[in-house]
Amino acid sequence: MKPIYLDNNATTRVAPEVLEEMLPFFGDHYGNPSSMHSFGGAVGGKIYEAREKIAGLLGASPQEIIFTSCGTESDSTAIYATIQSYPEKRHIITSRVEHPAIKNLYNHLSKTGYRVDWVPVDQKGNLDLDFLYDHLSADTAIVSLMWANNETGVIFPIADIADRLRKKGIVFHTDAVQAVGKIPIDLSKTGVEMLSLSGHKLHAPKGIGVLYVRKGTKFSPFLIGGHQENGRRGGTENTASIIGLGKACEFVARHMTEENTRVKHLRDKLEKSILERIPNCLVNGDIQNRLPNTSSIAFEYVEGEAILLMMNEFGICASSGSACTSGSLEPSHVLRAMGVPFTAAHGTIRFSLSIYNTDEDIDLVIEKLPPIIERLRSMSPFWKASCGSA
């Protein structure tokens, strides 16, 4: 069964042209980019080209790109690099809806003597900016806010925030793992000091990430070792993946318009049809201000894991904000921070599209999903009481 893959915020397909670009570096071109001989040096040249391509997508310069192993490493590096550079500052800020890579790191730091302020969001998932600006102080070492939310797709006004923080001299990091490749980003026009991205969210392979560090930003390495990445991240380069990521950046830049037109229309069609055909469901997050590929829909009175597994029978791949899928017992912290009621949070499904999706994919979901929800609701003890009011 061919998968109907609507889980692109979890990971994406490696683009065939990206894979093709990578393959020689698993084969004949196995040299170490740091070597003196031209056999290795040639690989070093390709890595520099990749660095330029990535910098090009972000509006950065190649020297500002540090390769890491994943988005999580980029996030940890950014935070640790900064707090080590400003050891006297003991206050850090983030939002209540971050990815675990930041959320759990901040939780950890809060137990080691750091004061943490968590910026709340409103019911649409938009940041409480007044809270953020009211809580800045001379003691604040770093503010880290995601560019776009992985569950709802809601986009934060990162450029504005970065400008304001820059004027105050506070280091600003953004986890842009979900934003890069989906919406245009130009770091030359913002005050963002550090930005994390992850290769596998933009059609490059898993196991490669980038931390952008603006020139002039204080930095202290997280992985200490060799001279690679100008001494900012030790470890022999993941050459094939770096070269693949360079190609992937070209690929997403070329498809950026398509992502924001055709893919967006597919997402809107899916959402509109579901809302029309299925009673008692609602979209989570600010529909005017989100990624073009993401839709988070809450189906009241049913549970997310059950929906996912029934869709799985038709090869439909999505993910859920419910508790049961993650092994935790409470629904996602993002939905709770937004105040989504439990009746809806437990039955939330996230669809996330990519340029590989077609009209046929969406039509299949529109055909298969309504009977699934109806069937699960017919089993639910809460449905009968509530459907009268629907």
């Binding site: 968590w118 059950a306 049961c324 935790s328 439990f342 437990h346 089993m379």
Partner: protein, 276 residues
């Protein structure tokens, strides 16, 4: 992805005995929408007091639906005395096993069965007896003790897997550990003897504890607390922010704020809310 057995998948995709029984002899309702799963079990008896028919309605994940379905197959033909001997372990075994994080689904089935039987007999509600330990999921000490004893649980994590207690905010982990320790016969740590505090010292310590320990936790949920006065050992506070309108705030006040202050300041303190 969960490693569900084929039998779990079968009972999830083709559940047996879904529905309600009109004029059922016993009905057992457990769980809630907020908790993420709920089951209503209906039982009909024949003239010989054997279970003739069992039906269910379940809101929940695949293993919750499968456990409910399995339960209805297991009880038909049994007398009530036989049915009440069914354990959660047997429900899980019937399905070829459940992932450990999903064992609470089998416990939910057993609890619903017990409730349905009590309902028929008109006897009291055994399950909800006791004192609430886990506020998030409304789980009592009795339920936790029983799960520990029946399933030989040894850690807080296991208790969470079986009855959900401790799976939310995590504030009850210490209490759950205490229950485990008592059952396993471990010695409880002796409570530290506190030296006598002057009034000023007491108030300062209360203020410090509120600032350092309690406010940051409440703020995570958008709430806050203000110390109004200390009268003897009565700590008078006012709740602010989202706590002020939260229905669970009295529980928070007693089970969290009071417990924390007793632990860190004085064991005799009580906390009360005063209105402005």
């Amino acid at each position: 992805m969960w490693d569900y057995t084929d039998k779990v998948k079968d009972h999830f995709l083709n559940p047996r005995n879904v529905g309600e029984i009109e004029n059922a002899d016993g009905v057992g309702e457990v769980g809630s929408l907020a908790c993420g799963d709920a089951l209503t079990l209906y039982l009909k008896l024949d003239d010989n007091q054997r279970i003739k028919e069992a039906k269910f309605k379940t809101f929940g994940c695949a293993s919750a639906i499968a456990s409910s379905s399995a339960l209805t197959e297991m009880v038909v033909g049994l007398t009530l005395e036989e049915a009440e001997k069914i354990t959660n372990e047997q429900i899980a075994e019937y399905l070829g096993g459940l992932p450990k994080e999903k064992m609470h689904c089998s416990v939910m089935g057993r609890d619903a069965l017990e409730k349905a039987i009590s309902c028929y007999r008109g006897s009291g509600d055994k399950v909800l007896d006791g004192e609430i330990v886990c506020e998030c999921f409304g789980i009592t000490d009795k339920q936790i003790q029983r799960a520990i004893q029946e399933n030989h649980l040894k850690t807080v994590e296991e208790v969470t897997d079986y009855v959900k207690a401790g799976g939310g905010c995590g504030k009850c982990h210490e209490k759950i550990q205490d229950i485990i320790d008592v059952i396993l016969g471990r010695e409880k740590q002796p409570v530290e003897n506190r030296k006598t505090l002057t009034n000023i010292q007491k108030i300062r310590l209360i203020e410090e504890t509120l600032d350092r320990e309690i406010k940051p936790e409440l703020k995570k949920d958008g709430g806050d607390i203000e110390l109004i006065d200390v009268v003897g050992n009565r700590v008078q506070v006012r709740l602010r922010g989202s706590c002020a309108s939260c229905k669970m705030s009295q529980v928070t006040l007693k089970n969290y704020v009071e417990t924390k202050l007793r632990e860190l300041v004085l064991p005799d303190l009580t906390v009360e809310e005063v209105q402005s």
